[in-house]
Symmetry: C2
């Protein structure tokens, strides 16, 4: 059974893209077949996976707005067997407005994924932009699980209530299967007391949903995308790579049935 997971948090810069890319790379290195769907008009996940996404190329935009089959959009990630990507292009920036008057505007991505043969996949990871607009709603409707990356910084807790409320709304009206299955603590800087305070807060509030593995702040993680690689292949021995491999293993062990 293919697990469809949306990586969402409207707070900016918390590690959504970094988590989507590095979990996908690690899962595929251990034999899973993974598709990353890039729903962010900036296309950071497409860049990190070294997948072409210049203006005019067929992209997720075409699947959402013109019902283009995903098979025409999905492309293999160079050098990473088992890993593929449905890239985002800048056209996606206009999609939120274009979708507003459309029929079934919240479930365009669901239709595209259902028409795609996911039986050959183990995971679909959907990277979202930093907002709770129609692109993120489409991702929440298409998925069964939500993974929320939470940066170990003070502002991290402020927007959570709004995100939880949006997930509830989507579950209530659009997708009854949706649940917050995973919370991942990211950019943990052991030098500051603040990071451990935020981590403790999150664990006491969300309990077992929070992965035991914490992703440390690691320069190698932020350097990897400039080489079109995940940190898993760029520097496998770095603390960031080791943590993402651990987190992927923990994620794989948690069955959705739990």
């Amino acid at each position: 059974r293919c697990r469809i997971m949306t990586i969402a948090n409207q707070k900016g810069g918390v590690g959504k893209t970094t988590t989507a890319v590095n979990l996908a790379a690690s899962l595929s290195q251990h034999g899973s077949r993974v598709l990353v769907v890039d729903l962010d008009p900036q296309g950071n996940a497409s860049t990190a996976l070294d997948v072409e996404h210049h203006v005019g190329r067929v992209s997720v935009y075409n699947s959402l707005v013109e019902d283009r089959p995903l098979t025409e959009v999905v492309t293999a990630v160079p050098g990473m067997p088992g890993l593929s990507c449905a890239p985002a292009t800048i056209d996606l920036a206009g999609a939120e407005i274009e979708l507003v008057p459309m029929v079934a505007r919240e479930s365009r991505l669901t239709r595209a994924i259902e028409a795609f043969d996911v039986s050959a996949l183990d995971y679909v990871l959907i990277d979202c932009p930093p907002s709770l607009g129609l692109l993120t709603v489409n991702a929440l409707v298409a998925a069964e699980e939500v993974l929320i990356p939470i940066q170990c910084e003070y502002y991290a807790l402020e927007g959570l209530e709004q995100l939880l409320r949006t997930v509830d709304l989507v579950r209530g009206h659009l997708n009854g299967r949706l649940r917050i299955s995973t919370i991942l603590l990211t950019m943990y800087d052991g030098r500051t007391r603040l990071a451990s305070q935020v981590a403790d807060d999150v664990r006491s509030h969300f309990g077992d949903v929070v992965l035991r593995t914490i992703i440390p702040r690691s320069v190698r993680v932020s350097e990897a995308p400039s080489y079109g690689q995940s940190v898993i292949t760029y520097d496998p021995a770095s603390s960031g790579a080791i943590a993402y491999v651990e987190a992927a293993r923990e994620l794989a062990m948690r069955s959705v049935l739990s």
Copy 2:
């Protein structure tokens, strides 16, 4: 003459709020009278300035959607003479959709600011959410200057083209006075080659628009909001505070007439 400046970048987590808050604190400490307008539904700037913004409180939302005068929204920042804030509440999350059918939807903030007595102010700094929707467009229409914070990380350059195009569109159709007056390099981590590469790239591309002052990554900067303070008052001797004071001085020296 009051300078109205929008702090925008749709890339998430690049230091928009941190820049708005710490420039405002520094300018007001040196005698300027500054208003911070928080246009981000998460209300991070309101939090950092220790201004009440629970649900139901009058906020920028009411000025945008119900034409409530800004005088009823603006409140003094505790302990910081000369500094005031128009806070954001969670209601603002719905504003983008509510504004879509409204008359003059892009210039609601402009009307609110024009009706407000800015002659008693030296600066209005507008903090934006990480998107290019109607809230950010309202900010771009209301302002004469745009300050773009650019994080010294790889993804920082990806979304810039889209931002520049949006500024051009607003200047062409909605606000002929608008110009990108300032670019500020943020979260510079001297330990990585990547940071200096990004900084060099940005300088060679934008020239003198880029402030000479660079904001270093500094733990004290990220701790300050948890005390409801700017880093300027939380730890004035920290590298982050010193850099923001320098940046504020440089900004003040650059007259808009240049």
